[in-house]
Symmetry: C2
Subunit: 606 residues, 2 copies
C-alpha cells in the first residue's frame, strides 16, 4: 500500500528558517499580520486533508478513470465527495482576495498547499487547480459584471474553471487558432469599458485537451476561451478572451440556462486518468469578452506564470510521494549483502538501502525535491512581493525574478520529476513495474508535466530567448547579484568552501556562456533554439546550487552532533554538489556545441 505523509517539517524549514517569510510578509500591506503560527496551522490542516481525504483516492482514481457518456463526465468514485469536503473547508479561497470572499493569504501558502495536494493526487488536484488560474485571470482583466457574477463562485469553489486554448491544429502556435466569436446585438458597445452594459458573443469552434473541461464536481464550469472576433487580424494579435459558462448565471449569481458549450469526448491518456481531458465543442455558445478585443493572449498570460509554477509544483509533489514510498521500501526490502560487510546479521540479507547505488538514486530524489521546495517557495514569495510590495522598484525586481525563473521552475522541476519518479520505481525493482505498488502511476502522471502549459523546450526558449537575451541579461544579473552577495559573505568561511566555490564557479560559467550564445545568436537566431534546453538545465543547477549552499549554511550552524534534520540537510547538500551539479559540465558543452550539427543536415537526411 502506497503511503504519503505531508513533509511539514521540511516546508516549515524552508519558509521560516531559509526564507524567513514572516520578515518579508511584514513589508506587504495585505499580509502584515500573517505570522509563522498562522502559516503552520494552515499547512498542518492542509497536510491532514491531503493525507486523509485526497491521497486515498489516488490509486483508485487512476484505475477507474473518468467515464464519458452523452456529454457528461463521471469522475472516479470519491472525487466528488473529496471536492465537497475541500470546498466546505474553504481551501479554494486560501489565497483569493477578501473582496470576493477569499482568505487573502499569501501565494506562498497556497503554493505549499498545492505541493501537498499534487503529491496526494495530481489528477484530482487539477480540478481546483485550474479554477484558481481562471480566478486570477478574471480578477485581473474581467469587467465588473463578470467579476461580480463569477468570482465569488470561483473563490468558494462552488464553480470551477478551465483554460480553453488548444485546438487540434494548434497547441504551441496559438496564432493559428480558428474558434470564432460573433457579437450579439450590443456586444461591442461596452467592450473593455468596464460597464455592465456590454452584451454577449456567440462562440463556435472546437477546443481539445481541456483539462477538467467537464466533470461532476461543481454545479457550474467557467471556461476561459480564446477565440477570434470577426474583424480580427491574423496571428496572435487577433485573439480575444471570453468567459463562456456551462450554465449562464442568472442576474443574482445563480445557475441559469444551459449554454451551448459541450464536452464531445474525453481522451485516453498515459496517466492522470482521474482528470477529464476534454474535447469541448462550442456551438454558438454565449460568451462575454474579458479584457480588450484582440488582447486575449495578454490577458491569458496573467495566469501563465502561476500556472507554470503550478506545473512545477506537480513535479515536486509527485517526486515527494514517490520518494517517500521508495525510501520505505529501501529500508524494508532485504536483498544481497553489503559489499563492505554484513549490515543486518540477524536477517538473511541486508536492506537494500545499504547498497551505494540505491542510496545514489534515493539521494538524487531527495536533493531534487528539497532544492525544488526551497526554490519554488522563494519564487512564490516573489509573486507575493511583485503583487503586494508598496515600493514600485521592489515590485519590479520581484516581477523580474518571477519572469526569469518561472520557466526554470516549470521545466527543470518536471524534467527532474520524471527522472525522480523513475528512480523511485527502480528502487522497487520488478515490483515497481506492477500497478499494485502504486509507484508506476507517479511516472505516468509525471510525464504530462513536461508537455502541458508549454512544453519544456518552449520554456527553455522563453528563458533564453525572451527572459535572458531579450533584455541583454539584465534580469539574470539581478539574480546573479543575490548569488554574489551570498558568495561575498560566505566565501571567506572555511566550512563553506565546498559549497561556495562550485557555486561561484558555475555563476561565472553561466555569465560567459550567456554572452557567448548572445553573440552567436546575433548572427544566427537558430543558435538560441540549439542552446536553449541545455542552457535551462545549467541555470536550473545554478538556482539549486544557490539554495543548497544557503541551506548548507543553516545546517552547518545547527548540525554537528545535533538535530538529525540538519545533519540530513548537510549530507544532502554535499551529495548535491558532488553528484548532481556535475551535470553542468556536460550541459555547458552541449549548450556551446552550436546550431550547425542540428541545422546543417537537410530534413531528408533524418
Amino acid at each position: 500500500m502506497a503511503q504519503y505523509r505531508a513533509p511539514l517539517r521540511d516546508i516549515q524549514f524552508v519558509l521560516h528558517e531559509l526564507l524567513q517569510v514572516e520578515t518579508h510578509l511584514r513589508e506587504l500591506p495585505p499580509h502584515t499580520e500573517v505570522d509563522a503560527d498562522t502559516i503552520n496551522q494552515v499547512l498542518e490542516e492542509a497536510g491532514r486533508f491531503c493525507q486523509e481525504v485526497v491521497f486515498p483516492l489516488n490509486a483508485s482514481g487512476d484505475r477507474e478513470g473518468c467515464t464519458y457518456a452523452d456529454g457528461a463526465v463521471r469522475t472516479p468514485a470519491g472525487f466528488k465527495g473529496a471536492y465537497r469536503h475541500f470546498v466546505e473547508a474553504g481551501w479554494p479561497s486560501l489565497a483569493c482576495d477578501r473582496e470576493y470572499g477569499g482568505q487573502g493569504l499569501p501565494v506562498l501558502v497556497n503554493n505549499a498547499l498545492y505541493e501537498m495536494l499534487n503529491a496526494a493526487n495530481q489528477a484530482w488536484t487539477m480540478y481546483p487547480g485550474l479554477s484558481h488560474g481562471a480566478y486570477e485571470c478574471l480578477a485581473a482583466h474581467g469587467r465588473d459584471r463578470e467579476k461580480r457574477l463569477y468570482l465569488p463562485k470561483l473563490v468558494s469553489g462552488e464553480w470551477s474553471g478551465t483554460m480553453c486554448l488548444t485546438e487540434a491544429h494548434c497547441g504551441t502556435d496559438l496564432g493559428l487558432l480558428r474558434t470564432k466569436a460573433m457579437p450579439e446585438a450590443g456586444a461591442e458597445a461596452g467592450a473593455g469599458t468596464g460597464t455592465d452594459e456590454a452584451g454577449a458573443y456567440r462562440l463556435t469552434g472546437t477546443k481539445i485537451f481541456i483539462s477538467s473541461g467537464e466533470h461532476d464536481l461543481a454545479e457550474n464550469i467557467v471556461h476561459l476561451v480564446l477565440a477570434r472576433l470577426p474583424d480580427a487580424p491574423a496571428g496572435t494579435k487577433g485573439i480575444s478572451l471570453f468567459i463562456v459558462p456551462k450554465f449562464v448565471p442568472t442576474a443574482d449569481g445563480g445557475v441559469g440556462e444551459r449554454n451551448a458549450v459541450r464536452c464531445g469526448a474525453i481522451e485516453h491518456k498515459m496517466g492522470i486518468h482521474g482528470n477529464a481531458t476534454c474535447v469541448i465543442n462550442l456551438d454558438g455558445a454565449r460568451g462575454w469578452l474579458v479584457g480588450e478585443p484582440h488582447r486575449g493572449l495578454n490577458a491569458m498570460f496573467v495566469m501563465m506564470n502561476t500556472a507554470r509554477l503550478g506545473v512545477g509544483m506537480q513535479g515536486l509533489g509527485l517526486s515527494e510521494v514517490a520518494y517517500q514510498n521508495a525510501l520505505a521500501y529501501a529500508k524494508e526490502r532485504i536483498q544481497m549483502r553489503s559489499l563492505s560487510g554484513v549490515k543486518a546479521p540477524d536477517k538473511p540479507a541486508d536492506p537494500i538501502i545499504v547498497h551505494p547505488d540505491v542510496r545514489r538514486i534515493l539521494l538524487t530524489q531527495k536533493a531534487y525535491i528539497e532544492g525544488a521546495r526551497a526554490f519554488t517557495s522563494w519564487l512564490a514569495l516573489q509573486i507575493d512581493r511583485m503583487t503586494a510590495h508598496p515600493d514600485a522598484q521592489e515590485r519590479r525586481e520581484a516581477a523580474d525574478m518571477v519572469a526569469l525563473l518561472t520557466p526554470v521552475a516549470k521545466a527543470f522541476l518536471t524534467d527532474n520529476a520524471f527522472e525522480s519518479t523513475s528512480h523511485a520505481m527502480q528502487v522497487f525493482g520488478g515490483y515497481g513495474y506492477i500497478r499494485e505498488t502504486g509507484v508506476e502511476q507517479y511516472v505516468r502522471d509525471a510525464r504530462i508535466n513536461m508537455i502541458y502549459e508549454g512544453t519544456n523546450a518552449v520554456q527553455a526558449l522563453d528563458l533564453l530567448g525572451r527572459k535572458v537575451l531579450g533584455d541583454m541579461g539584465a534580469k539574470l544579473k539581478t539574480f546573479g547579484k543575490l548569488i554574489e552577495a551570498f558568495v561575498d559573505e560566505e566565501g571567506i568561511k572555511p566550512d563553506m568552501q565546498e559549497f561556495v566555490n562550485p557555486l561561484a564557479d558555475l555563476g561565472t560559467k553561466v555569465q560567459k556562456l550567456t554572452m557567448e550564445i548572445g553573440m552567436k545568436a546575433m548572427a544566427n537566431p537558430d543558435e538560441v533554439g540549439a542552446a536553449a534546453v541545455p542552457y535551462l538545465r545549467v541555470v536550473g543547477h545554478l538556482v539549486f546550487a544557490y539554495f543548497w549552499a544557503r541551506m548548507a549554511r543553516i545546517a552547518l550552524d545547527q548540525a554537528p552532533g545535533g538535530d538529525p534534520f540538519y545533519r540530513a540537510k548537510l549530507a544532502t547538500a554535499r551529495f548535491y554538489f558532488a553528484r548532481l551539479l556535475p551535470e553542468t559540465a556536460a550541459q555547458i558543452r552541449m549548450a556551446r556545441a552550436g546550431a550547425s550539427t542540428l541545422m546543417d543536415p537537410d530534413e531528408t537526411l533524418f
Copy 2:
C-alpha cells in the same frame, strides 16, 4: 496511426559495410556458406513479417491485454494467429542447431530479426524470445533424454519456454530462493550422467514475474525452474535447475499428462500488456534435473548473455519504432515559424522539424539507435565467433568481449531507449500523451527493460566489479586494443580528426578512471557500487564513439555530394560527437565522486 518500416538499409550497412560479417563467417565452420544475399533475403522476409503480421497487433494488444481465468491465460486477439504464422514460417528455428531441426544461421541474423520483432511488438515477441533462451540452456546443459524430447519442439516453436527464477522475496538475490525439489525414487541415480535413466523430482514453491509463464499460443510450455534439492547448501551454491513441462511429454515427444505447474494470477503492469507476467505455482510438479545438482545458476547463466543482449535489442527496437513515428510527425505537423526565417511560405506555419530543439531530440534518438545497431550487431558476431571459431584463442577473445560488453548492451541501450522513446513522445506534444497516437505505449513498454534480466545497476556492478576489476582490466584492454588500432590507422587523416581525437581522449580517460576506482576499491569495496552506474555510461559512450568513428570513416569515403544515406550517417556521427559524447564529462566526475557522500549518512537521515 502508428507506422513501422523495417530499417533494412541500415541493418545491411552495419552487417556488410561496417562489420563485413561475410569475411568473419567464412572463418566459422558452421557458417562458411552464409553469404550476404542469404542474410539479406532472410532479413527482408523477416521485415515483411514484422511489418505486416506482428506490428498491427501492437497497439490492440496493449489495449486489450491478457486475461486470466481459472489458471488459463488468453492472449490478446490475433496473437495466437501471428504465432502460428511465425512457427509455420520457421522463424523460431533460425539460429538453432540443425541437429534439432534448426536452420543453423548465425546469431547475428537472429539478432537482427529480434530487433525488428521488438520494434513491431515487444509484448508478443517475448513469447518466442524466451523460448530461445530455454533452447540454449537445454542444448548446453540438458541430458540426452531431455534434449531429444524438448529441443525439436522448442526449435519448431510448437512448444514455448520460460525462465522461472524470481520468487516474491528474491529477485536480484537468488541465493534466498526457497522452491524445493524432492527426488522421486531413482531420480538421483542418473543425475548429471547424461543417461536416460534418471527419474524425476517433485517441485514445490511459488515463482513470480514469469514472463510468458502461461498463454494460449503453444500446445506446451517448458519451464526452466531454479529450486533447491533437500541436501542443498544455503545460498547460491545450493540451487539446481530443472525442466518442468506444463504437459509431461510422452516417450515419443507428444503432449502427455498435465503437470502440477499452474498459473495462479497475472500481473497488471505499466506496459507490455500483451505479455502474460505470471505467478507460477508448483505443487509437487514433476521436473527433471538440468546440469549438475547445485550448479543450476551456472547452467542458467548460459542463457544470460543472450537474454541480456536480447533486452538491449528490445530497447533498440522500441527506440527505432518510436523514432520513425516521431520523425514522420515532425515533418507533417506545422507549428510556429523557424527563428531563422519562414521555411514553408505556402503553409500557415513551418513543419516542426525546422526547430533546432526538435532536431536535437530527433538526432539524439537517431544517434542512439544507429550506434546501438552497430554495437549489438558486432556483439552478436562475437557470440558467433566465441561459439564457432576453430581457434581457441579467437574463441576466448570473442568470449571476453561478450562477457565485458553484454552488461553495457543491456543497460546502456535500455537507459537510452527510455530517454529516446520519451523524446519521441515529446515531439508529439500533447498528442504524445494520449493513447491513440501509440507513442506513449513505447515509453511504458521501454521502462521494463531497465529492470528485468538484472536491473541496470546490477549490470553496472557486473561490468565494473566482475568484468573490469575482476581481471585487473584485462578484458577492457582487449577492447581498448581495437580502439588503439583504429586510432593509429585513422589518427593521421585530417578528415577524421573530429572523430578520432575525442575517441582517443575518452579511451585515455577510461583507463585512468578505471585505475583510480580500482585503487579506491581495494580500500573500500563500496567504491565499486558508488561508481558503477556512471562508469557504465562512460564505457557505453566509449563503445558508441568507437562505432560512430568507424561509421564516419565509411561515410566520409562515400559521402561528398553522393548517396544521401552516407551524408546522413556523417551528419549523425557529427551530432553524436558534438551533442551526446559530452555526457561523459559529467559522468566521469560523478564516477570519481567517491562513496563518502553516499555511505556516510546514516540510513535514518534519508
